[in-house]
């Protein structure tokens, strides 16, 4: 699975069936679960940092509005130094985690768009061998559906084109 596909799952952007396929893979692969947890950690850091930033922004807006109105400062809550520290620590952690994840991505998956599927060995006698798949800019996955009589490889492409339905509706 490509990091882009996992990120789309984390962001809730995958179609329902594709999201279920990702969940199947998450159940099977602990390494993938770890990767998802790192996304969650990064997301939490960024969220906290954004909250701190927005609080600071609110203070600034209050100050400007009061200055425009010609009123003296009142009930201004001084910004604590610790909030700055927390924001910078969160940002640093987020950047460090992102860099670590990027390094892992670059070392483990050199060609995310082109997936070579090792199904040539798997059930070669019973099924079609998928030798290579290029999903292009879209995501997708390859898996096997097994029945009593055969193993059938399935190439599942992500398709979130919202205009497809409109294109095919009668005018």
């Amino acid at each position: 699975m490509t990091p882009a596909r996992l990120m789309r799952y984390y962001d809730g952007e995958l179609p329902e069936v594709a999201a279920r396929l990702v969940e199947h893979e998450l159940m099977a692969e602990s390494e993938l679960r770890g990767e998802l947890q790192s996304y969650e950690a990064i997301g939490e850091c960024v969220r906290q940092w954004a909250e701190q930033r927005s609080r600071g922004h609110d203070d600034l807006v209050d100050d400007v509005m009061r200055a425009i109105a010609g009123r003296p400062y009142s009930k201004r809550v001084p910004r604590r130094r610790s909030s700055h520290v927390l924001a910078w620590v969160s940002l640093s952690l987020g950047l460090a985690a992102g860099a670590a994840l990027l390094m892992r991505t670059l070392t483990i998956q050199p060609a995310p768009a082109s997936l070579v599927v090792p199904s040539a060995e798997h059930g070669a006698a019973r099924s079609v061998a998928i030798e290579s798949v290029d999903f292009g800019a879209r995501g997708g996955t390859v898996f096997m559906v097994s029945t009593t009589s055969s193993d059938t490889p399935v190439v599942w492409t992500d398709d979130d084109d919202s205009d497809d339905d409109q294109r095919n509706e009668p005018l």
């Binding site: 179609p15 329902e16 069936v17 594709a18 279920r20 396929l21 199947h24 040539a120 099924s127 079609v128 061998a129 998928i130 030798e131 290579s132 798949v133 290029d134 999903f135 292009g136 879209r138 997708g140 559906v145 097994s146 029945t147 009593t148 009589s149 055969s150 059938t152 490889p153 399935v154 190439v155 599942w156 492409t157 992500d158 398709d159 979130d160 084109d161 497809d164 339905d165 294109r167 095919n168 509706e169």
Partner: protein, 168 residues
């Protein structure tokens, strides 16, 4: 002295033009090499089923026939399967075969080679009308009777499921 040189050059020039050209032998036509003789065309085809999977509780269209894969996850999460088209495309190495899909895209199949006596290698791709490739390339090796599925394209509140089976 100059005149003599001029006359000598003129004589030599005329002599070279008047000399008969060296006979040019016509190259005999190349005999076809044994290994480059036209190989017998591989006779193979692909049966393509275009199914529309939806959450309408209509069950599986009986025209589809026996397809036990539809009872397995993730296909089992759809409650209605309708057969849109069943067609058979003859495959050849010299020409790609195209099938227009109901969502406006085009499925293209091409026979690549026959790596073994009873198996073929073919490529499939799905292109969009506006030029972008939806599925740029899929290469498979299959025997007659074996099938693979390409699914996931959204279409009318459901998805398209393409079942591609190699036939002789």
């Amino acid at each position: 002295m100059k005149r003599a040189w001029f006359a000598l050059c003129a004589v030599l020039s005329l002599a070279s033009r008047a000399a008969p050209a060296a006979p040019v032998r016509a190259r005999p036509p190349l005999a076809p090499e044994p290994h480059k003789l036209a190989a017998p065309e591989i006779v193979v085809g692909a049966e393509v089923l275009v199914l529309h999977a939806t959450h309408d509780k209509k069950g599986v269209d009986p025209q589809i026939g026996a397809l036990p894969e539809l009872a397995q996850a993730p296909f089992s999460s759809f409650e209605g399967y309708a057969l849109i088209e069943r067609t058979r495309l003859p495959l050849s190495k010299s020409e790609a075969r195209e099938l227009k899909l109901p969502n406006g895209r085009t499925l293209e199949l091409r026979l690549r080679d026959a790596p073994e006596k009873d198996s073929v290698r073919l490529s499939a791709s799905i292109n969009q009308p506006r030029g972008k490739d939806f599925l740029p390339l899929l290469e498979v090796k299959a025997k007659a009777g074996q099938a693979f599925i390409v699914a996931g394209q959204s279409y009318k509140r459901g998805i398209l499921v393409l079942v591609i089976r190699i036939v002789k």
